[in-house]
């Protein structure tokens, strides 16, 4: 059974290789091949889950050492996999949602002539992400981490003929590189400090303490902060959030994949996996919480102002990942809920993105929500599935998001003291804003009157329901959005499932769970009500109103690019210009000056060689005279 674990990664990897190397003859059925490989990986995951459920809690973790990768004296890197409750949760999310997105893409990308390549990249994405969550050491995790970065670059820039897509891909890659630096530094620190970067000896497993227990707090804080930097890059947290909005340039299934199943969840995984480090470094933990809280509000505000449906959803992702990072930063009281929210978010966010893609599919690729309106009659399936995803994300009682988000808010209050109140307040505010902007998206898209505009070539849009390859994934995900949260919370099943890996502690909340739930629901209702008053009762203008200063800033992603430009790009280019000046004037000036001096001197010396016999004779006479004179002089002395 355990031999299936490497196959989890190998299946999509083989799919990617086959599709990329197979050539044109695979064009007709390559997409189905890729979907089959993804589904195969999912099936392996299910089999492994079944086998894991059959074992005692203490024996659930499985280690497979595949081969020795870099055996050097004093440095041992292995390719090995560790499958435990945390990994299998991610594996099922990645392959399950991933397979649905593959299926959806079959319909969505039907008319793209480079479809085979697209599916190859999708498979590569899954393989890299699976490697990331299955690795049993940080170095192999880093391989998957970089693979995810590469695949996201290829997919975001898939429509590379559009300059904006090419730029967005580069931006995502570069911003991610900053985070990757953090991870590589963290790995180097670990190796320097502990001589190893394997999870087992380093972090310890249940009952046995790892090497991190003996390290000083300062060192652990440094490692923790570097890991956090890495997580910020992949999970689009402040200050490395700027790539996420632009990443919407990729095809919509890619957005769904990045936001739900892969990529942005990597940061949350990294922090949860490194729980042993963070638990011993309170300062790093506090930083994690602050980053999560800031991003939570940041993303929510951006989501409120965007008219582009995908960018509004991107802001929402940022905000929801902020919830997860915040929960992970709370320590043992939050890890389980971070992962639980991650899984439920995977369902409803994938559903929302696929719904948005379906809307765009029917509206001639229009993304501006102010040009939608009244679509519920034309796309009933999309409307219902998107609506269920919407209810889930705002935390409508009984749906997935309600359970998982509620738990995070409870955990935030349970942090205790002033911190607890502040974090609780922030998460509640976030819940209210989430309800506001998601209701706005819903109202602008599906309700009100038609505001459709003809596209650039003058074609009126004819909204229509999407083909069934697109509808089925949306329906399945809608089921997940509705039931996953309840299923996880029933008998605290998810808590008991993950607790052996991440550990869990009950916090000491000043408010009873029921009170928190009531307040959360009230915040949600308030958000929905405000949004309804603003967008539901009066016609929505097609041209966006000027808006307040905050709105204008939020439309520009709260000036994140202006900030990066002013703080990083401009001093960077100034430094580069100064270096170029020093190089061309200083170094080259010295070398060129030397050459010019020697050249000038030699061209003067050259004049002696004038080709006249007489002048050579003169110099001979002169030389002889000098010789004779010197000889005589020496003799007389």
């Amino acid at each position: 059974m355990n031999s299936l674990i490497p196959l989890l990664v190998a299946a999509p990897l083989a799919g990617a290789a086959l599709l990329l190397l197979g050539g044109r003859r695979l064009d007709r059925f390559g997409h189905w091949l890729a979907t089959a490989f993804a589904a195969l990986s999912f099936a392996f995951g299910l089999a492994l889950l079944a086998s894991m459920l059959g074992r005692e809690t203490a024996e659930r973790q499985v280690d497979v050492n595949l081969f020795s990768w870099i055996p050097v004296n004093g440095f041992q890197a292995d390719v090995g996999f560790q499958l435990d409750q945390l990994s299998i949760t991610f594996v099922l999310l990645i392959t399950g949602v991933g397979t649905l997105i593959h299926l959806y893409s079959v319909g969505y990308m039907a008319h793209d002539e480079r479809r085979r390549r697209f599916f190859a990249y999708l498979n590569l994405f899954l393989a890299a992400m699976l490697l990331l969550v299955l690795a049993d050491n940080y170095l192999l995790l880093y391989v998957g981490w970089e693979g995810v970065g590469l695949a996201s670059y290829l997919l975001i820039g898939f429509w590379q003929h559009k300059p904006s897509a090419a730029t967005a891909a580069k931006k995502a890659f570069l911003v991610n590189r900053v985070g990757d630096m953090g991870l590589s530094i963290a790995i180097m620190l670990m190796f320097a400090e502990f001589g190893s970067f394997a999870f087992g000896p380093l972090l310890g497993s249940e009952g046995t303490a790892g090497a991190v227990g003996q390290a000083s707090e300062g060192k652990l804080t440094a490692i923790g902060l570097m890991l956090l930097l890495a997580a910020c890059g992949k999970s689009a947290q402040v200050p490395l959030q700027s790539w996420l909005g632009d990443a919407m340039e990729g095809p919509t299934p890619v957005s769904a994949l990045i936001h739900a199943a892969t990529m942005v969840t990597a940061g949350v995984y990294l922090i949860t996996r490194s729980a042993s480090i963070f638990n011993l470094a309170p300062d790093a933990q506090t930083t994690v919480v602050v980053v999560g809280a800031v991003t939570l509000i940041f993303g929510a505000i951006v989501g409120c102002a965007k008219d582009d449906i995908k960018k509004a959803l991107a802001g929402s992702t940022m905000s929801q990942i902020g919830y997860m990072i915040l929960a992970a930063g709370l320590g043992p009281i939050g890890y389980v809920y971070a992962i639980m929210h991650l899984v439920t978010h995977g369902f409803f966010k994938a559903g929302l993105f696929l719904g948005a893609g379906s809307v765009m599919h029917g509206m001639n690729d229009e993304v501006n929500m102010r040009h939608y309106g009244g679509l519920r009659k034309y796309m009933p399936v999309t409307f219902v599935t998107f609506g269920l995803g919407y209810l889930a994300i705002i935390g409508f009682p009984g749906l997935s998001g309600f359970f998982s988000k509620d738990k995070i808010i409870e955990a935030a209050f349970a942090k205790g003291g002033t911190e607890g109140w502040i974090l609780g307040g922030v998460t509640l505010l976030g819940a209210a804003i989430t309800a506001f902007y998601m209701t706005r998206v819903m109202l602008l898209t599906f309700f009100g009157e038609k505001r459709w505009q003809p596209d650039a070539e003058g074609h009126e849009p004819h909204p229509h329901e999407s083909p069934s390859t697109m509808k089925i994934p949306m329906i399945v995900l809608a089921f997940g959005s509705v039931f996953a949260g309840g299923l996880f919370t029933l008998n605290s099943s998810f808590l008991h499932w993950l607790e052996p890996v991440t550990g869990h502690a009950e916090g000491d909340s000043p408010l009873s769970p029921l009170t928190v739930t009531l307040i959360t629901t009230l915040c949600m209702v308030a958000g929905v009500a405000v949004s309804y008053l603003m967008y539901g009762r009066s016609p929505v203008p097609v041209v966006p109103p000027v808006g307040s200063a905050l709105t204008r800033a939020a439309r520009r992603d709260l000036l994140q690019d202006d900030f990066n430009h002013a703080v990083l790009v401009r001093p960077g280019s100034a430094l580069a210009a100064a270096l170029v000046y020093f190089d061309s004037r200083g170094l080259d000036g010295f070398v060129n000056g030397l050459a010019a001096t020697i050249g000038g001197v030699s061209s003067r010396l050259r004049r002696i060689q004038n080709g006249y016999v007489r002048s050579y004779a003169l110099s001979m006479f002169g030389g002889t005279l000098v010789l004779v004179a010197t000889t005589l002089l020496m003799r007389s002395v």
């Binding site: 050259r606 060689q609 004038n610 080709g611 006249y612 016999v613 007489r614 004779a617 006479f621």
Partner: protein, 99 residues
């Protein structure tokens, strides 16, 4: 007669020859000046032979004459061939070696 006067004559002839080499352009005249210088040195050598009372200087003078004869043969051949190609005997015209 004081043999030293021959040395003065030799010095005078040598100077005339050297100045001719430096000043004149015509290759034939230049060549004659070179011969003049050689003969001036021959005269000086013979005079030294007389002054010292041995034959060393005279022997060297014979050597010089042999070398001068050989030089004239080669030099005149060069001048003739240059004149054939350039229709000029001026040494300033043959300046292709100039950079």
């Amino acid at each position: 007669m004081n043999p030293v006067n021959y040395l003065y004559l030799a010095g005078l002839l040598f100077t005339i020859g050297a100045s001719g080499v430096l000043i004149r352009r015509n290759a034939i005249v230049l060549f004659m000046c070179v011969e003049l210088m050689l003969n001036a040195s021959n005269l000086a050598l013979v005079t030294f032979s007389r002054l010292h009372g041995n034959l060393d200087g005279q022997i060297i003078a014979f050597f010089t004459m042999v070398v001068a004869a050989a030089e004239v043969v080669v030099g005149l051949a060069i001048i003739v061939s240059i004149f054939r190609t350039r229709h000029s005997a001026s040494v300033d015209d043959s300046n292709l070696m100039k950079l």
